[in-house]
């Protein structure tokens, strides 16, 4: 791989590293991102180009509101190929320059007539998440969290498998006239888990796990047709009404229950059973002193952040802003994570060694009791 030329350094100085790979078959031009990439303006990857985002890369979008709706619009637009393949311990993260990322901080990753290949990629804090038209590809073992909408797929064919969707105030998975394979995903704490517009082109929705979503599976008001969603773990009753206040029989969801033992990202520790509506989770530390295993101490500071400090040297290993005051000192959650509760009513599950957010859920009420089982699972 060539080193970036002077022009590249000048132009992409704020973007980290961008280089074209030599020796690849024409006409594909490859652009590689690694490290910390800052996007202040919209960026288009044109047709005939491939953007490769390497494991551990963090892409941060600035805030820009084009239409005055209070939500960010800064975006990355792909007309060629997007390849973003992270690893469980070093995922690719698309996030905002603001920490912590909250819904609507930036616009979207838009793919038109292109292809996508994503694994162990986190997309958080956007307005429209992964937004694809007439595109195809796969999204595996990814985490989409706290975007307004996690996806917007139109007339596309995407395999979405073993992903984790949570914290979306709009639609976690949102599609129109697609032929998607939506399997073995976890949807929890979203306003809408799956939302289909107008029509579906024969998608499969199987083996997914739904917990604590206001509407686990919803069909839009203009939707017509029958959608099979068989063999999903709905966490109780089947979603009887696809559209809670719709009085038309033109749309029907055929849902059946089944186990979803392998749902969610593989080799990604997170809460084994997403919180159920009305369920109270523990947010208080255990009776024993908070976690100090592995030579790290975990502390909350006054600015609403948690940090890991090396016990012997007091060196700060990582620091994670949570945007709200912390209710108590973090406590160990299994062997690889720490849990922390905020006064804002969230419980975060953070990677012990890196501070990476593995999962998060909302809690209700002020009085919590500790969950009886380990709050973590890892595959």
């Amino acid at each position: 791989m060539k080193k970036p030329g002077r022009a590249a350094i000048l132009i992409f100085g704020a973007l980290g590293l961008a280089v074209a790979q030599a020796g690849t078959p024409p006409p594909i031009e490859t652009i590689v991102w690694r490290g910390d990439v800052q996007l202040a303006a919209d960026l288009v990857i044109p047709r005939g180009s491939r953007l490769v985002v390497e494991p551990g890369t963090t892409v941060r979008f600035g805030f820009r509101d084009d239409d005055g709706d209070g939500w960010g619009d800064a975006s990355l637009r792909i007309e060629g190929e997007l390849v973003s393949r992270g690893r469980p311990e070093s995922p690719v993260v698309f996030t905002s320059q603001q920490e912590p990322a909250e819904p609507g901080n930036w616009g979207e990753i838009r793919i038109d007539f292109g292809s996508l290949d994503l694994s162990y990629t986190v997309i958080e804090g956007s307005t429209r998440g992964l937004h694809a038209h007439f595109s195809s590809g796969r999204v595996e073992d990814c985490v989409l969290r706290r975007n307004v909408d996690g996806t917007r797929f139109g007339e596309s064919s995407v395999a979405v498998e073993h992903c984790l969707f949570y914290g979306h105030p709009g639609k976690a998975f949102n599609a129109r006239k697609c032929r998607n394979q939506v399997r073995a995903n976890v949807f929890h704490d979203n306003e809408n888990g799956v939302f289909l517009f107008e029509a579906d082109g024969g998608s499969a929705f199987e083996g997914n796990l739904f917990r604590a979503n206001r509407n686990p599976f919803r069909l839009g008001d203009f939707f017509e047709g029958v959608v099979p969603a068989r063999g999903n773990d709905w966490g109780g009753e089947l979603p009887a009404a696809a559209q809670p206040d719709r009085d038309s029989g033109a749309a029907r969801l055929e849902a059946t229950s089944g186990a979803a033992p392998g749902a969610g990202p593989r080799a990604w520790p997170f809460w084994a059973e997403g919180p159920r509506p009305g369920e109270v989770r523990d947010t208080s530390p255990p009776a024993a002193a908070p976690g100090g295993a592995g030579g790290l101490l975990f502390q909350a500071d006054d600015s609403g952040a948690v940090r890991a400090v090396e016990a012997s040297t007091r060196r700060v290993v990582w620091r994670r802003p949570l945007g709200a005051g912390v209710r108590s000192e973090p406590w160990p959650a299994g062997s690889t994570a720490v849990a922390v509760a905020t006064v804002g009513g969230r419980v975060y599950l953070l990677d012990r060694m890196s501070g990476l957010e593995r999962d998060c859920w909302e809690v209700e009420g002020e009085t919590q009791t500790r969950a009886s089982s380990t709050p973590e699972r890892s595959r």
């Binding site: 060539k2 970036p4 030329g5 022009a7 590249a8 132009i11 992409f12 961008a18 280089v19 074209a20 030599a22 031009e29 490859t30 652009i31 303006a41 919209d42 960026l43 288009v44 990857i45 044109p46 180009s49 084009d66 239409d67 005055g68 709706d69 209070g70 619009d73 800064a74 975006s75 637009r77 616009g107 979207e108 838009r110 307005t127 429209r128 038209h133 007439f134 917007r152 139109g154 007339e155 709009g170 949102n174 129109r176 006239k177 517009f197 107008e198 839009g220 008001d221 203009f222 206040d245 009085d247 038309s248 033109a250």
Partner: protein, 184 residues
């Protein structure tokens, strides 16, 4: 390599990242008054959020221009007042607000192929009602549209609309309003 980089840079353009998706688009007319803008936003967000259909708000200098665009097919949806509608139809004042609404509804459908949907609420400055009006051919293309917009029936009186304009951020206020009413 430089060629590749420059190709990307050449496209570092401020393209519109509008939320518009591929598919049908509906157009709503609005004037620049804060009340008109916020009502148009409520209807646009309601439709977009619940159906995925893209909705464009088009600006006009006044209500007459909006009516003309609606009647000639440049617009799909507008919000009109019953008193102004009766005037356009050359009809005298009705006995009450409900009678005015029914007269306007019948006249618009018969003469203009425009469909009045259930009223949003009392319009400001008199006993008139404000209501969404949709082209008949638009209703044919979107048969579920009247039922959807009708969810706003009685929710947007002049007082409510005035309150929604206070923030100066019509899109944000409209979205918050719809959330509070559990419509999106």
């Amino acid at each position: 390599m430089r060629r590749a980089v420059l190709a990307v840079i050449a496209l570092l353009l401020s393209y519109s990242s509008a939320a518009a998706c591929v598919g049908k688009t509906l157009v709503i007319g609005a004037t620049e008054s804060p009340e008109s803008r916020v009502v148009a936003q409520v209807i646009a967000i309601l439709i977009n959020e619940r159906t995925g259909t893209s909705v464009k708000i088009q600006d006009f200098p006044d209500g007459e221009e909006i009516h003309r665009a609606l009647a000639t097919g440049s617009l799909d949806i507008a919000v009109e007042r019953t008193d102004q509608a009766l005037e356009r139809l050359g009809l005298g004042a009705a006995a009450d607000a409900q009678a005015a609404y029914l007269q306007a509804k019948a006249g618009y459908l018969e003469r203009l192929n425009l469909v009045w949907l259930p009223p949003l609420g009392p319009a400001g400055g008199g006993a008139a009602l404000a209501a969404p009006v949709v082209r008949k051919d638009t209703v044919k293309k979107f048969p579920a549209l009247p039922r959807l917009i009708a969810k706003t029936e009685g929710l947007l009186s002049a007082d409510v609309v005035a309150a929604l304009t206070r923030s100066g951020e019509p899109a944000r206020s409209a979205r918050q309003f719809l959330r509070e009413k559990k419509l999106i």
